[in-house]
Amino acid sequence: MGAVFIPSEFGIIFLPLANVQVKAGDKLRITCRYTHRGKAESQPLYAAIGNTGWTGFDEILNASKTLSVPEDASWQSREDYVDIAITSSLSAGVYDLYAKIGGTIPKVISPTLQDVVEVLAAIPNSEFGEISITNYAKV
């Protein structure tokens, strides 16, 4: 079960997050809310699955799409999503998520959601192990 810590007037709130179960072949849709003001422009919306470590975020899978925002005279809140194709690069286990807007130098980065993606073990190929006669009767 993932969680996020949110500062509030009462201190820090521990907000548990449900995790999502995926397997190879699925797509994970990550929906983001962002704010923008100023001139119209296009920037990549980027999201990644991986693990947070002491050296930073170790990305395993990612995807991006181009966001085109109109000119905003004041701060405007918008939503958009990016789909990450789940492949066998992810072994079974739990992973973290983060998103950002911008290229090599991000313009804004989301908080990391930890342990929110659970990758299920691959279901093995079909095989028959053994057979035995369990009954025999006149019909």
Binding site: V20, Q21, V22, D26, K27, L28, R29, I30, T31, C32, R33, Y34, T35, H36, R37, G38, K39, A40, E41, Q43, A47, V69, E71, D72, A73, W75, E79, Y81, D83, L97, Y98, A99, K100, I101, G102, K107, V108, I109, S110, P111, L113, V116, V117
Partner: protein, 121 residues
């Protein structure tokens, strides 16, 4: 309807960033049958701004351009332009024209981003 100093058009940007010099070109045509001294005055909101020429002697049928300029404030503005002709003893206001110039943002910036949903598709 103008008597002599007909404002044909105003060339000015529809938007500008704060602090930018906004150039306003006012095309005025002498629609009279004799030479006329023509002039232009203008304001953005209630603030007057200067023009390159105080007045010009214009032949019948001739169009001249008066160039004015001002510094864009931090808000949308309406510019109002008046044309004038000299009747031999005083300036007479003749034609009037308005144009909106909106404030545009100098840069684009993103303030925050957060993941609000994640779902298997």
């Amino acid at each position: 309807m103008a008597k002599y100093a007909d404002i044909i058009k105003i060339d000015a940007p529809s938007s500008a960033i704060v602090g930018a010099t906004v150039i306003v070109d006012v095309s005025v045509k002498n629609i009279g049958t004799s030479d006329q001294n023509l002039a232009v005055t203008a304001v953005f909101d209630s603030t007057s701004f200067p023009f390159q020429f105080d007045y010009l002697l214009v032949s019948p049928g001739q169009t001249v351009i008066f160039r004015g300029w001002f510094t864009m404030p931090s808000k949308n503005v309406t510019i109002t332009v008046w044309s004038w002709y000299w009747d031999g003893s005083e300036w007479v206001q003749d034609d009037r024209y308005e144009k909106q110039i909106s404030l545009s943002q100098a840069t684009s910036e993103f303030g925050s981003i957060e993941i609000i949903r994640y779902e298997r598709r």
